[in-house]
Amino acid sequence: MTSIKQSYIVDGNDFISCGHASEAVKRTLKELGMPSDLIRRVAIAMYEGEINMVIHAEGGVADVEIFSDGVKIYLRDHGKGIADIEQAMQEGFSTATDDIRELGFGAGMGLPNMKKYADEMEIDTEIGVGTTVYLGFKVR
């Protein structure tokens, strides 16, 4: 099956531009005429991933592959890793600092939102090495 591949660098020091990759993907999906429900789910989940990479990992890379019936996203960083995935998946749990919270982030909803909006989610993490989050979306 043919697909469109895109790759984005997420700048780890830039909260202002955070979300540019998600917005670019959203635009592409719109141009391709994908269903609005899919577009919204992809955009939100990917934005959460971008924010996580900025807050916790000094940035990373987002690889996106768009198919006629869905989207696959790989968010790769070389941050500190997730110590306890089960805990990190709980709504409200966050290790973000107070200055991050003042910006409105760090509610502990990032990974839960990604799980909520994606159809498939896998987390591969190693302490001190980094984290890769896979998100799969299907046209419903």
Binding site: K26, S36, A43, I44, F105, G110
Partner: protein, 104 residues
């Protein structure tokens, strides 16, 4: 309710016009991820958060209008971004509670 009626009912100052004439869904909250998880598409989002990321969340979550309450005046970059993205942006002196009380 109509967007015009909404703006008038909370005596709001308009900073960026809303692309929609009617808004029938609303969400109140300041934590951006909560907004993205819960806010309905096409809603008016009532908040006190005032930074450029608010527009980003608005774009990604398909928010129609951002209502800044408690006399929070939007930053210039937030105004410009909302204009570019056709997201309505208003500011009111009312609290979030008072805004909601005025919605019909």
């Amino acid at each position: 309710m109509t967007t015009k009626a909404l703006v008038e009912s909370i005596d709001a100052t308009l900073y960026a016009p809303c692309a929609k004439d009617n808004i029938d869904a609303f969400y109140v909250g300041d934590f951006l991820s909560r907004v993205m998880g819960k806010a309905p598409s096409g809603c008016a989002w009532i908040t006190v958060m005032n930074n450029i990321n608010v527009a980003g969340v608005g774009v990604l979550a398909d928010v129609a209008m951002i209502v800044l309450c408690e006399d929070v005046h939007p930053a210039e970059d937030l105004i410009e971004r909302c204009k570019t993205e056709n997201i309505g942006l208003v500011s009111t002196k009312l609290s979030a509670y008072e805004v909601c009380r005025n919605l019909k």
